[in-house]
Assembly symmetry: C2
């Protein structure tokens, strides 16, 4: 009971600082909760002299985190440096090889080298825990690794990037265009100066690949994921979605299909009367469809120093309790090769927004191309002027482009792409058709 | 690796049968996931000969679950008998005393005797796991016991009873009164023949008391919880709530306040544009406000054979992995006495619906009694005829009772009760005022 787990913390940015703060605030409660205390013995960061909100003088300083990773009195190496390779990877490898447990919040490192590191953890019988790497304070990893362990999971999905959700929420609530809201988000610190990693969907893909490996037991790679960002989402889409009973969210989705695992990141239509539609701002969510558990959804802060520190400590305290679980929810040697379902085989409903030249026969031609591909339409909305419905063609006669929005019944990605390509070629539209997938919840 | 954890399962109703089905379906995957397999060695139920969907012939039969609980080859006693005392309690005690781990789905047993059983588990260094006792397949217990372990939790709340949520959802969506929907629910198997335990809020109170002990580390008792059921909710309330931007849900709420822990179960107004407002039908949710984690919400099936079996297996596999955690998230000896915050000290907004005699001065008198208690009003809606607003008093002149709905700013339970008592005494209303608390999310 008087023993304490000794931590070496590498990286003292927001999350590192938050982690030290948490241990200072609540560390006294840990022995009763885990049978063992937690003690920070060493820290390492780029600049020892930097002005920090925390006092690091009680801890042994290491200039080199790799050296700290294998220091004798460190039981758990906490990697909060970040970056997919470099010193973070070298330090984690050194720690695992030295028989130290590792806790990391580094999704880029895990998305690139997770399985390799998991093997190293297995070989050395130590923990490689990474609750903080996906969706901040939300217990997504533990839910797959432990709570749903007795289930076969058929789908995992979620809102995994706070920046995108913040932008889409503000666009919808304030009726302002993407570029304006992005600029605001950058000023407010919700988006990076170079936002492309977030708004382009790549951050979501990193997190999704970890969830996929955990949920389906396959050795995937994030660069095989189909990725679309939110840059193309216009106010017209957000308004049309609202009218049709949907909200637009950037989702990461991994789905078990007969032809393999489908992994995709894209703006998605979700019905308005659902919990996920109300996950707003920087909040994240992660959902799992388990064959016995049913559909489970977790909602919470997806980032931030304190929520992420809470997740880091959850990993640390698991080690304090004495457990070492396989990093990816089964022996790493039992991970299977990834069989990728082709994106063109994806099945679902689609939202299509077209800017159609207002002339006789234009809409008939468009409807014909959809029919050629066997696509049936659930609804059609021609938004301005409202009087144009239902006799659309009758109104299309002065040559001005008119916005037309369609919702399809279930079809395939291949069919929809073929139809849209022909529609674009035929010249009845004056811009590239917008297409947004609808997710069945 | 070839070793297997040996289970004795007592109770072969829906959940027991679901548990056996799950192990038969996915048991082969367990060794890779936990380092150890799971094997059913013995079962016990009331009637050996009952026609069941599962084949129990491979397992040793026990007429007496208490005897099975201490059988030599049982490692884990799985109690799915139910009931707050009797044979379930005797068997769990026998198992713990014999040094067997216990997994149970029995909320009544735990709400009545949880701390006493937890002491027995501590003394014998075995696990007492009960994920399935609260909110079915939702990992509520693990989230407090593990994921949020490094947090101070300020509030835990949720939709914890599927029957009530099913009834309220159908009332709202179909605009049908409570009694009609309850009858339907009984026919459909969503409500018991005697529904009072569910619709009266007592089932929710059982679950809330477990969450309170876990979240706040206090030795509470469910019979000190303030409980109101949903029987008094009328269609008029549901419609007025909708108009004012709310949904009505039966919530269990436990809140840390300066004067102790406030525990209450009552119909609650939640804003429409929130995830919890969209938790519909028999679905449950549990939410936690942690000081570092932020607000975390879990949504999923709150009952059912398969979701509950998933939770039972999550507990079993935790034992297979080798961990024994304190049942209530800290050493049982460290649980503190419960300091109960008085319900009259509760602070919040209120929805008030009055049936006011349509006569001069009636509304002025009512508004006066609210003012006497220092209660300020956020909005007032007088629903029929719509023309009566804003000059309400001017219209109240033919003596017919008119429905008046008010939303108050934050006030105290004591103030609202005093005001409503005086309003009722003054005789300007023709029925008992309806009062529904608003929860800040």
């Amino acid at each position: 009971m008087s023993s304490a787990l000794k931590l070496g913390i590498a990286g003292l940015g927001n999350v590192g600082t938050g982690t030290v703060e948490l241990i200072c605030a609540h560390g006294d409660a840990f022995p009763s909760r885990t049978g063992c205390g937690v003690e920070i013995v060493a820290v390492s960061a780029r600049d020892r002299m930097k002005n920090r909100a925390i006092d690091i003088s009680p801890y042994t300083w290491f200039d080199d985190p790799v050296e700290m990773a294998s220091a004798d009195d460190v039981d758990v190496f906490v990697e909060l440096i970040g970056g997919e390779g470099g010193v973070a990877k070298a330090a984690v490898e050194a720690a695992l090889k030295a028989g130290k447990h590792v806790v990391t919040a580094n999704k880029a490192l895990l998305a690139n080298h997770g399985v390799e590191l998991a093997r190293l953890a297995d070989d050395n019988a130590v923990a490689l825990n990474f609750e903080a790497a996906v969706a901040g304070g939300i217990p997504a990893i533990k839910t797959i690794r432990e709570s749903l362990l007795a289930n076969e999971i058929s789908r995992v999905y979620g809102i995994l990037n706070g920046t995108c959700n913040y932008i889409l929420t503000r666009m919808q609530k304030e009726e302002r265009p993407f570029a304006q809201v992005l600029e605001d988000a950058q000023h407010a610190g919700y988006a990076e100066a170079d936002p492309s990693f977030d708004v382009g969907g790549h951050d979501t893909a990193h997190k999704l690949s970890l969830l996929t490996t955990l949920a389906f037991g396959v050795e995937t790679s994030f660069d095989t994921i189909y990725v679309e960002g939110i840059e193309s989402i216009s106010l017209a889409d957000i308004e049309a979605a609202d009218e049709l009973g949907y909200r637009i969210k950037l989702l990461g989705v991994a789905l078990r299909t007969d032809s393999g695992i489908e992994q995709r990141v894209h703006p998605t239509m979700v019905p308005k009367n659902t919990a996920i539609a109300e996950v707003d701002g920087a909040t994240n969510c992660v959902a799992f469809d388990g064959d016995f558990s049913g559909d489970i959804m977790l909602i919470g802060p997806g980032a931030g120093a304190h929520p992420t520190a809470s997740a880091v400590l959850s990993d640390v305290l698991d080690i304090a309790k004495g457990g070492v679980l396989p990093p990816f929810a089964r022996r790493t040697a039992d991970l299977k090769p990834y069989r990728r379902a082709r994106m063109r085989a994806h099945e679902g409903g689609y939202y299509i927004r077209l800017s159609v030249y207002d002339r006789p026969g234009a809409f008939a031609a468009i409807a014909g191309r959809m029919a050629d591909e066997g696509i049936s339409l659930e609804s059609i909305v021609q938004r301005r002027p409202p009087s144009a419905l239902p006799g659309i063609d009758a109104q299309l006669d002065d040559g001005t482009p008119l916005p037309v929005v369609m919702i399809t019944h279930k079809t395939t990605e291949a069919a929809i792409r073929a139809a849209l390509e022909k529609i674009e070629q035929e010249g009845n539209v004056n811009e590239k058709p917008q297409m947004i997938r609808i997710e069945k919840l």
